[in-house]
């Protein structure tokens, strides 16, 4: 294979790596070949991608996405007996709780207005979209039972 052909091939891989369609490892190898040209392409691509994804990030709760995101929650809010490491009281039931209340509770934990070491840690790791999705999940799951 001629050297020029190989460079052209690498360059086209770079292009896919730029928009995240290549795995991390091959992207790292390609990084060595990161040129002024690919940098310019990124400068164009990123704002374009941000524009495209704009409408998708508008706040709308997705209970199905919440089902996956709530996996960690059910480690306490869905175990038999609802007992965890806090011996004095049970973990509250969330199935069938009100959406608005759940959102406000997670916000209060995230903002430090409501104190609970575990819940503050959990809420701080959530994006706004995560909070909406998880809250929607706990509303929806009760309807199917």
């Amino acid at each position: 294979m001629a050297a020029t052909q190989f460079i052209r091939f690498s360059s086209s891989l770079d292009h896919w790596a730029d928009i995240g369609l290549l795995s991390g490892s091959s992207y790292n190898r390609r990084l060595l070949l990161f040129t002024r040209e690919t940098e310019m392409r990124l400068n164009f691509l990123l704002p374009a991608l941000m524009l495209l994804s704009g409408p998708l990030t508008a706040a709308e709760a997705d209970a199905e996405a919440g089902a996956i995101k709530a996996y960690t929650c059910t480690g306490c809010h869905g175990i038999p007996g609802y007992n965890n490491i806090y011996p004095t009281y049970k973990v509250p039931k969330l199935g069938g709780q009100n959406y608005e209340y759940l959102v406000s509770a997670l916000h209060a934990y995230r903002d430090g207005e409501r104190k609970h070491a575990t819940m503050e840690g959990q809420a701080n790791a959530l994006s706004e979209q995560d909070i909406l999705d998880i809250s929607a999940y706990f509303v929806e799951i009760a309807k199917t039972q």
Partner: protein, 113 residues
């Protein structure tokens, strides 16, 4: 071997001293119902709230309800509305109210599949 038995004994003693206050107090649901007139204005007659910003209480765990009301009363949890209501409750009131709402049907146990 002896040491581990001693450890277990100390642990058991610690638990018996620690738990009774919570395990023995159960509250009287019927009395709680009588005391719940104020609560019903927001949390509904059936424990299902009239406004989605307020939590449903029907079927919530007794011990969690006790914890929530105790925290409002002590200021550990703050809420303009709940803090003032909880401030006037006795321990017995809290137990009775918690027993009443825990006895209602509403919130689902997600551990039952």
């Amino acid at each position: 071997m002896k040491k581990s038995i001693l450890n277990q004994f100390v642990l058991a003693l610690a638990f018996t001293l620690f738990i009774p206050g919570l395990a023995l107090a159960k509250g009287n649901a019927a009395k709680g119902h009588e005391k719940a007139a104020t609560c019903e204005a927001c949390h509904g007659k059936d424990g299902l709230s009239i406004d989605p910003n307020y939590p449903n209480l029907a079927g919530q765990h007794f011990s969690y309800l006790v914890k929530a009301l105790s925290d409002y009363r002590s200021g550990n949890r703050s809420n303009a509305i709940m803090s003032s209501f909880a401030a006037n409750l006795s321990n017995q009131d809290i137990q009775d109210l918690a027993a009443w709402y825990a006895s209602q049907k509403g919130l689902k146990d997600l551990s039952v599949k």
